[in-house]
Amino acid sequence: MSGGSYFTTVAWLIRILAVATISFGCAGAEPASLLDVRLGDGSALSETVKADTTTIVLVYEPGMCFSCSPMFTRWEAAAQRHGARLLLVLADEPSVEAARALRRLRIPVAGIAASWPKRLVPAEYVFRNGELVDKAEGLIDMQRRKLWEKEWLRS
């Protein structure tokens, strides 16, 4: 085996191993339903979204810069304009500093969805009468779909 082909073979083995690791890693992260997330008051998210209003559920990372990114504030404005309920669910337990920043910004956290797949975060879900009517998962999808501008927000 020449030196060149040896390194080519090793490189391929490494690639195969990497792909296998990624595949198995993802297979193990099958999400429970977002609606199973328990809110701060102990109720399940599924109960809350059943109400006869539009409910927007944002699943964001706790370390996100809520004040420098328009992501949260534009939803806040849209929810206020259209009388929709806005719930922020964090994709992880916030650090002490992140929790303090959220308190300073007076952004209430509805719950923690630690088991929600990270590849779907950030994500935005719109429920009406308990039914999921629209969603955007990941930054690119969110920017492309601009759910906060949609007409269905009008309750």
């Binding site: 370390g63 996100m64 810069c65 809520f66 004040s67 420098c68 328009p70 504030t73 404005a77 500093e97 992140a98 303090r100 920043a101 308190r103 300073r104 910004l105 007076r106």
Partner: protein
């Protein structure tokens, strides 16, 4: 011999390139004394609160003006911390803030506020919009005096660093490149933030992120300079800045948030003596933290009294304003019960500690 000649040549080249005049050696290394004279906790509840301070100044009537980009308003607080209302709201309309509000300055009954690429002047206290300008990206509003608005504006071909837009719309370019500038576009664009203190008779003082000097002179130049010794602050970090290579983003990444940021340059009662506040920032992902340092600069005597650590919480970064001989510091932290609170502390700038006389 060759090395010495080459070094002398480099020094000459640097001098020519800067256009800012000779950078003199520091004279004084005394630290300024800050004496706490007042502390006011701002009136806040869940509907009226300072979320994310993005600008801070003291109006001519003594009110505290706080830009708050979380809530999309400029809060007006009385000297005793009472919430006297707010100016604007979030939106794209004339009396609304689309991205800010950010940097705020006030002069008599006029408020000047940056809002992303927009710049507005407002009637104070009514909040009625007087004028609105669209500014190019990277052009930050930095100072306001006599109706003239000063903007950071780096022009690499002309080697100028700011623009002054007069009340009548006239635009004048000014400033000169520091020794660090001109070599790298990355450095010029990313590490050339500046603070300007407009002075009487169309003179200014100016401080750059990439220099440990304060420059002063007529708006159109030429400029003289005073060294501000790096005692405790990080300083310009020329070791990192001079290593920046265009086309090698890692070199710029290494320097990001490392140099002290020029936060404020303002006269302390007389145009000859200036307060220069820098801040050593750290970006923590969801907020900026930062320790401010105050230096006093005597431009007539070419001396500086550097790096008093401004007391108070540094997470999130505080905001500062100077009125005559008083430094006002806006801090945000949590009270003993864990409730968020905003506090403005006032410190007397004791100059006698620096140079023996007031």
């Amino acid at each position: 011999m060759y090395v010495r000649r080459r070094r002398a040549g480099l020094e000459l080249l640097t001098l020519i390139a800067t256009g800012c005049g000779p950078e003199k050696e520091p004279v004084s290394r005394t630290v300024p004394l800050l004496t706490a004279v007042d502390s006011v906790q701002l009136e806040e509840d869940d509907t009226r609160f300072v979320g994310e301070a993005s600008g801070f100044w003291v109006a001519s009537d003594g009110a505290f003006l706080i830009s708050d980009r979380r809530n999309g308003v400029v809060h007006v607080y009385s000297r005793r911390g009472h919430h006297n209302g707010s100016l604007g709201s979030r939106g794209d309309g004339p009396e609304e803030w689309s991205r800010g509000p950010f940097f705020v300055r006030a002069e008599d009954s006029v408020l000047a506020v940056a809002d992303g690429h927009r710049f507005k002047t407002l009637q104070y206290p009514s909040g009625r919009v007087l004028k609105e300008l669209q500014r190019p990206p990277g052009s930050g509003f930095v100072a306001f005096r006599n109706g003239d608005a000063y903007f950071r504006s780096i022009d690499r071909s002309q080697k100028t660093t700011f623009e002054v837009v007069s009340d009548d719309g006239r635009v004048v370019r000014g400033g000169a490149f520091t020794a660090a500038m001109g070599r790298s576009a990355t450095l010029d664009n990313m590490f050339s933030f500046l603070a300007i203190a407009p002075l009487a008779e169309s003179r200014i003082a100016i401080a750059y992120q990439n220099s440990d000097f304060v420059y002063f002179g007529p708006v159109s130049g030429p400029f003289d300079s005073v060294a501000v010794p790096v005692v405790e602050r990080r300083g310009a970090r020329l070791d990192l800045l001079n290593a920046i290579e265009d086309g090698n983003p890692q070199t710029a990444q290494r320097a990001a948030y490392q140099p002290s940021y020029p936060f404020l340059l303002a006269p302390t009662g007389s145009d000859a003596r200036l307060a220069y506040v820098t801040i050593d920032q750290t970006f923590e992902g969801n907020r900026m933290t930062g320790q401010p340092f105050l230096s006093l600069v005597d431009i007539n005597a070419s001396r500086a009294c550097a790096d008093a650590r401004v007391p108070g919480p540094v997470d999130p970064q505080p905001w500062v304003a100077v009125v005559a001989d008083t430094l006002f510091v806006l801090n945000q932290d949590e009270g003993p019960s864990g409730k968020p609170r905003s506090t403005i502390r006032a410190f007397l700038l004791d100059q006698s500690h620096c140079w023996g006389t007031k």
